[in-house]
């Protein structure tokens, strides 16, 4: 026998024993046990300390609503705090630890908090830690943090792995109790695609915990048969250990499946899976949660919910005590007494608040009708109770039943509110359910087994009908309608001491009364002020009783008082499960350029550009600072030739009879006259007239163009153009497809670029300046016929080309270019040198196209053609965007060439105070120009074009700089453009 409190029977597998440790003490249990049932079987009643007062606490429930028995499971990096012992499936080798104490669980130093409880009432933080002000950060907060929280995190990375996934069904059944099983059977037998999810590791819900009969057999046996039948159905997926945590839009539900938590080791497989379930219909059969009655010192280990005491006896074969009392306000509670007696557990007393005839005879028990428990005793576990008449009873377990609350949570995830039903004194789901959801069984307030079975069956038949699916389900399973009458009874008024409502957060009746007295009248305020209903259990056993007390205080009904908002997740979900596999290097996908491996072999330093990894620079031996590498790359490119992978630029293939007209409407400048074999620079505006993106478009054929966009806007530009094609101008014959990935593209720049390309491009293609001038394009062959596209365009300001080959040849082309370039001392350059050269040349990039700037500000106003319409043309004419004294893109040089400029600096007139009113503009991009031997910048400044030669200050409070700069042309390098045409 695994422990002194183990009974005969039950659903545990006695043929096998499981060893586990609690606080280092070796214990045994059986397959089918939870940690809680195994601890109770072993006589362990004290399992933890409460949050605020560090009161001794034991197992209170037998399910996921557990507020008290929170433990740490496993050790080392696997340690998981705040785990409910009542749902932790026992396995061989399980290590569990109690939590939230200093010293030992039995002798907790912080139990001193309990002695000063009068000072720790609701809102004590807000009242106590007011002064002196400076103490908050240095004294109070660290002290509070040190004593707050429950379990300890390991502080190490989570070594487990997690996954997520997607499931689809006609009908999702949430909960596999009598209602859920009846629903799944009806739908499954009709051939529907069904997912049945239940948080327990054994399906059956309360049928496993009760002694009901279904179809003339024990309920648990009927449930097991039903599960077997469902498992045999190909279109039914039964998912135990799976909690549906929330309802999202359009029939989408989130569910957490615990795959390996019940195993000693996961074998490298995901520990938990977060599923997204797409359902056409859903039936919520989530059951109900029993609620306690509040009375003095009602939090001692040994005081448990009556239904839980029953579950431990019937399902787990554990007697929760040897001298049990029952305290109830309803008939259902009496079942506990009957079941315990039937299993040989002595029941000493049944205490019913109702002054009426006893519900049943309970052999050996005193029946005390119209009586109440006012307080209890027992330091680390219950020893006895005192009744309202002063009589004392010796008890080691008190089973309490205050009625049942339907689990309405998921019905409220779309903002619906539950409604109060007087007959059962509980909230039931309102009419405003998430789309496609129906509620069956105890979740809908139908508490008897017969009603649950019939309700689940009916809900499934109705759901199939709504989907137009045939229902061939027959009759629902039959069961008796057991007695469940009760009266509302929330707390014992005669109790003098603290009467707990929320065991997890140590919130008492007095706290709720005080909170109301201090003005927190709304239930939402009550929650925030007292912390009622927060943390891992979200007040599943606490909320309704607290509402009842708030209602009493305010003189309103419970219905008028209302509930707090229910939000996902229904039960706690580890952050690791939300992250799933998106962690570390695989947090997001990485895009690699065709020359990536080549660059990596050369020791390139990479930079993230969106999802892309781009070579930033290529250090050479002996270079100790990135600027040495970048300066060299710039000098060598401008001095001879450099090669840069520009594959990341967006490329869009545009074809159609109206492709040219389409481009003419997309770009602000004219494209009506672009000849085949030519490239044009183009500017796009947003609808509001602000500059959006720029790039080049080449005309490859009469009806065939290829556009390049900036790297960052590759996707949005494509999307906008697709919108324009489909929605703005559906009459145009134009077709778009992305070819960004199709072509590996390299910039070849510098005075020797043509000579280098002559070694690569097949000789039948004439690429002389005459045959292939600036802004020419064409299809060529490289290295003996590999197809390629050549564009004579320049971002650097040099004689330059871009050459593209199918991506499979990208790496080989890079190698071929570098090999052929050896004769010219060719250099590979990265994004940093690219940026330096574009700043030297005065080209705008993302820093300048930041969504605030216009073509006019960029000095490109002539590119907004007034001979035609285009996206953004009209709104670009707004007067404020066209002020003569508006901002202009200009160049800036420090008066002292040794000064280093910084982007983000603001321009101020000499002597002007650094105030917003004096702000004249800002620096957008800066670089050290190896060609000019000084730091240079681009920026926007008021009336800039009329102020060349003027000196202003580049003022940068962030970095403490105030640098006199001269306003110059933004075209620092080769302003006439002779080089690129050469």
């Amino acid at each position: 026998m695994s422990g002194p409190f183990r009974l005969e029977g039950g659903a545990v597998d006695r043929s096998r024993s499981l060893s586990f440790c609690f606080d280092g003490r070796p214990m045994t249990g059986h397959p089918g046990d939870t940690l809680a049932s195994a601890l109770l079987a072993g006589g362990v009643r004290l399992v933890g300390r409460s949050f605020k007062y560090h009161r001794p606490r034991g197992v209170f429930t037998a399910g996921s609503e557990e507020p008290s028995a929170l433990v740490e499971l496993r050790s080392g990096a696997h340690r998981e705090p705040n785990t409910r012992a009542t749902v932790a499936e026992l396995f061989d080798g399980l290590e569990a630890f109690s939590q939230n104490y200093r010293g030992s669980l039995r002798w907790d130093l912080l139990a001193a908090n309990d002695l000063i409880a009068p000072f720790l009432s609701a809102g004590f933080y807000y009242k106590t830690f007011m002064w002196p002000k400076s103490f908050w950060e240095r004294v109070y907060e660290p002290a509070i943090r040190a004593s707050a929280g429950l379990g300890r995190l390991s502080g190490e990375a989570d070594p487990d792995c997690y996954d997520k996934g997607f499931l689809h069904c006609d009908l999702l059944v949430i909960g596999a109790g009598p209602a859920g099983l009846a629903a799944a059977l009806a739908a499954g037998r009709s051939g529907a695609r069904v997912i049945l999810a239940d948080e327990d590791f054994v399906m059956g819900g309360r049928l496993n915990a009760e002694t009901h009969e279904v179809d003339g057999r024990p309920g648990a046996a009927w449930a097991a048969d039903a599960v077997r039948e469902l498992a045999s159905m190909e279109r039914v997926r039964a998912m135990p250990r799976t909690t549906v945590i929330g309802a999202w839009d359009h029939g989408i539900y989130g569910a957490l499946e615990r795959r390996t938590d019940h195993l000693a080791a996961g074998g490298g497989k995901p520990r938990q899976i977060l599923w997204r379930i797409y359902s056409r219909r859903a039936i919520l059969a989530a059951g109900a949660t029993e609620r306690p009655i509040a009375f003095g010192a009602n939090d001692r280990p040994g005081i448990m919910l009556a239904g839980a005491v029953r579950a431990y006896a019937n399902r787990f074969a554990v007697g929760a005590g040897r001298r049990v009392g029952l305290f109830t306000n309803n008939d259902d509670g009496w079942r506990t007494a009957a079941d315990l007696v039937a299993r040989g557990v002595p029941v000493a007393a049944v205490i019913d608040v109702r002054d009426r005839a006893p519900v049943a005879e309970v052999p050996g028990a005193r029946i005390l009708m119209g009586s109440r428990v006012t307080t209890t005793r027992g330091r680390r576990g219950l020893k006895g109770v005192t009744l309202a008449n002063g009589e004392k009873l010796a008890l080691d377990c008190l089973a309490v039943s205050g009625g049942w609350n339907p689990n309405v949570h998921l019905t409220c995830h779309h903002g619906g509110r539950p409604v109060w039903r007087d007959g059962i004194a509980a909230f039931v789901p309102g009419a405003d359910l998430p789309g496609g959801m129906a509620v069956a069984g105890a979740a809908g307030g139908a508490f008897t087994a017969a009603a649950a079975l019939a309700g689940g069956h009916r809900a499934a038949v109705e759901a199939l009908g709504a989907l137009g699916l045939p229902a061939v389900a027959g009759d629902p399973p039959g069961a008796g309608d057991e007695a469940s009458d009760g009266v509302p009874f929330w707390h014992v008024r005669e109790s003098r001491g603290r009467a707990w409502l929320d065991l997890q957060n140590d919130v008492t009746v007095k706290d709720v009364v005080q909170s109301h007295g201090e003005g927190f009248r709304s239930v939402e305020h009550l929650k925030r002020y007292t912390t009622l209903g927060m943390a891992t259990d979200q007040g599943k056993t606490a909320n309704v009783a607290a509402l009842a007390i708030l209602a009493e205080q305010s003189g309103k009904s419970i219905a008028e008082t209302g509930t707090t908002m229910f939000r996902p997740p229904y039960t706690p979900v580890p952050i690791g499960a939300f992250a799933g596999r998106s962690r570390g290097r695989e947090f997001r996908p990485t895009r690699l350029t065709p020359s990536h491996d080549w660059a990596e072999r050369r020791g390139a330093v990479f930079v993230d550009a969106g999802m892309w990894l781009r070579a930033q620079w290529f250090p050479r031996a002996g270079e100790t600072h990135w600027r040495e590498s970048v300066d060299r790359e710039v000098r060598q490119t401008r001095g001879s030739v450099g090669i840069c992978d520009v594959t990341t630029l967006g490329k869009i293939d545009i074809q159609g009879r109206d492709a040219q007209e389409f481009l003419n409407r997309i770009y602000s400048n004219g494209f009506a006259t672009l000849a085949v074999g030519k490239v044009r620079y183009g500017l796009m505006l947003r609808e509001d007239g602000i500059a959006y993106d720029d790039g080049t478009t080449a005309r490859l054929g009469e009806n065939h163009f290829v556009m390049t966009t900036t790297t960052v806007n590759a996707v949005p530009v494509f999307r906008n153009m697709e919108f324009a094609r489909q929605c703005l101008w559906p009459g145009l014959d134009v077709h778009l497809i992305s070819v960004t990935e199709q072509w590996a593209q390299f910039a070849v720049a510098g005075p020797n670029s043509r000579e280098l390309l002559r070694k690569i491009v097949d000789p039948e293609h004439d690429i002389s300046n005459e045959a292939f001038p600036f802004m020419a394009c064409g299809e060529v062959g490289v290295r003996g016929g590999t197809p390629a596209r050549l564009f004579r365009i320049s971002f650097s300001g040099e004689l330059a080309y871009e050459i593209a080959v199918p991506a499979r040849y990208g790496e080989a082309l890079m190698e071929a270019l570098m090999a052929a370039g050896e004769a010219f001392d060719a250099v590979a350059y990265g994004t940093e040198a690219l940026g330096v050269m574009r700043i030297e040349k005065g080209h705008a990039a993302a820093n300048e196209l930041n969504g605030q700037t216009t073509a006019r500000m960029l000095g490109l106003q002539r590119m907004v053609s007034k001979k035609k319409d285009c996206i953004g043309n009209v709104l670009s004419e707004r007067p404020e965007l066209n002020r003569e004294d508006g901002l202009k893109l200009m160049g800036f040089k420090p008066l002292d060439p040794e000064e280093q400029l910084a982007a983000g600096a603001h321009f101020l007139a000499p002597g002007a105070a650094a105030e917003t009113a004096n702000d004249e503009g800002w620096m957008t991009s800066v670089a050290y120009s190896p060609m000019l031997g000084t730091s240079i910048g681009l920026g926007f400044i008021r009336r800039g074009h009329a102020r060349i030669g003027e000196t202003v200050r580049a003022w940068d409070a962030l970095r403490g700089a105030d640098i006199p700069v001269e306003i110059v042309s933004p075209h620092f390098y080769d302003p006439e453009g002779g080089l690129l045409r050469g």
Partner: protein, 191 residues
């Protein structure tokens, strides 16, 4: 010595591996070319497709086999199909399609845009369940169906090319991340 011709390199380097009974492989020698149908040109296009590839034009989301070049035509959107085939000359795949379809379509080579991966085996749907948001049940996605979707933040074209076999295509630049995502799904879902 003449300079050597450029050597091609494939997105997954000819990857081939079996994990938990599921075979993953990068198919070799396939070209993928898009064909967009000019406005008003549906009849011409259908005729050209029948003449050039011996294929019926598929509706969006469906695919049809052709009788030339081992072709399969994938219906991608109302005015666009992709033609998956074994090209006589991989460097001239678009030209092959253009020659077959004449002026009835605008063609664009997509062969290098997508990394391709076949995933096949009895448990393949359980593996794809971890990354594919689409319903791949027989009734919802029978053999021959094709769709665009997203897996692990990546664009994917998924074609069911057999009862327990799928061809997945995802952008070439992120092929390594994509392969990792599929491998991990197969490993996670296998027993």
């Amino acid at each position: 010595m003449a300079d050597p011709a450029l050597a091609p390199r494939f997105p997954l380097g000819g990857y081939r591996r079996t994990i938990g009974g599921i075979a993953l492989a990068e198919p070799a020698g396939l070209a993928l070319v898009s064909a967009a149908v000019p406005q008003g040109g549906d009849e011409d296009f259908a005729a050209a497709l029948a003449g050039g590839f011996g294929a019926v034009r598929p509706g969006t989301g469906d695919s049809t086999p052709g009788d030339r070049h081992a072709a399969r035509v994938l219906g991608m959107q109302p005015d666009q199909v992709f033609i998956l085939f074994e090209p006589p000359d991989p460097d001239r795949a678009a030209e092959t399609v253009a020659a077959a379809l004449g002026s009835s379509a605008y063609v664009t080579d997509q062969s290098d845009s997508w990394a391709m991966l076949t995933v096949a085996g009895a448990g393949v749907r359980a593996a794809l369940e971890r990354i594919c948001p689409l319903d791949l049940a027989d009734e919802a996605f029978p053999a021959g169906r094709v769709a665009r979707t997203v897996m692990e933040y990546l664009a994917v074209i998924i074609l069911r090319d057999g009862t327990d076999s799928f061809l997945l295509m995802s952008p070439r630049s992120s092929a390594r991340s994509f392969l990792h995502a599929v491998e991990l799904s197969v490993a996670n879902a296998s027993e």
